[in-house]
């Protein structure tokens, strides 16, 4: 019960934290806590990228997309290193890749490549997580 309350309060605090605070917490976190924190950062940057593309701020949006990949890679590495949250992280990557593909379709052809590359990278990280879940990546 205490663990559930603690997890709920951690989740609630993660939602109200600024991105900078979340990043600082991730940097100081134990390896087993990093997959969830890094995924949260990646998801926030994905939302930011979507909003920035809608606002026509393409350069800033592309920087946010780069963050999505960077923090997804960190989540992937931490999940494999700790052996925790592999399935949750894999599902989160799948959903983020779907969002990236959807964002890509709303863009001009010239702006699509970085978003497609990010979606492909997430798919590749996801495949790697699946391999580890089934013992092939060890």
């Amino acid at each position: 019960m205490v663990a559930v309350l603690l997890a709920a309060s951690l989740l609630a605090s993660a939602k109200t934290e600024t991105l900078e605070e979340l990043i600082a917490r991730e940097e100081a976190a134990k390896v087993e806590d990093r997959p969830a924190l890094c995924t949260e950062i990646a998801e926030r940057q994905l939302k930011a990228a979507d909003d920035l593309y809608t606002a026509g701020k393409v350069d800033e949006a592309q920087a946010a997309v780069k963050d999505v990949v960077t923090y997804s890679e960190k989540a992937h590495d931490a999940a494999i290193q700790s052996g925790k949250k592999l399935k949750n992280t894999e599902i989160d990557f799948r959903k983020m890749a779907a969002k990236l593909r959807d964002i890509k379709r709303s863009l001009n052809f010239d702006d699509q490549a970085p978003v497609q590359e990010a979606a492909d990278r997430l798919e590749s990280l996801r495949t790697d997580l699946l391999s580890h879940m089934f013992g092939k990546g060890k």
Binding site: K95, A97, A98, R101, D102, R105, E123, F134
Partner: protein, 176 residues
């Protein structure tokens, strides 16, 4: 000295490798025609969600047709690929619903169609699960994926029903 036919064969092989590498690198579940249809319906939630239902249904139908075809030899791999394709489209459907909710769109009508489709997808996927349970050797390659797809659709049905209830409640309060 390499003959012309030899050069052509090498060129064809290189092109095949390139196209395979490109296909592997760029994994998009939708074809260009479907992408165009979605672009045309960008501002219309009802139309866009309807398209996603059609695309998802097409993937499941294609899966059923492939499994019913006695000539298919790599059944396990093809089942896996088609299930993944369906899941990718279904994830995008859910992602679009989230986006329209954020924009405060009235989704009551399209959600009813989505829930109907969810029920249809659930029934087809459960039938597939029952049929493959009888053939463990073949299903090893995609059993985990099939469980994930069923989880996604089961979760989807609940979320879509809850969202429809919320939107109907909100609409009642608006009327008062």
């Amino acid at each position: 000295m390499i003959s012309t036919s030899g050069r052509l064969a090498r060129l064809a092989f290189a092109m095949l490798l390139l196209s395979t590498a490109w296909a592997q690198r760029r994994r998009d579940p939708l074809n260009p025609l479907e992408e165009d249809q979605l672009r045309d319906a960008a501002q219309d939630p009802a139309e866009r969600l309807k398209l996603y239902i059609v695309f998802a249904r097409t993937r499941l139908t294609s899966l059923e047709q492939m499994r019913a075809d006695p000539k298919v030899t790599d059944r396990a791999q093809q089942t896996r690929d088609r299930l993944q394709n369906f899941l990718d489209v279904y994830d995008e459907l859910n992602d679009n619903i989230d986006t329209f909710v954020e924009r405060k769109a009235d989704l009551r009508k399209p959600l009813k169609a989505v829930i109907e489709a969810d029920t249809e997808f659930q029934a087809k996927l459960r039938a597939l699960k029952s049929s493959v349970d009888a053939n463990k050797d073949e299903s090893k390659q995609y059993d985990f994926l099939l469980t994930n797809v069923l989880d996604a659709v089961d979760g989807g049905v609940q979320d879509h029903r809850q969202l429809l209830n919320e939107q109907e409640e909100a609409a009642k309060h608006k009327k008062k």
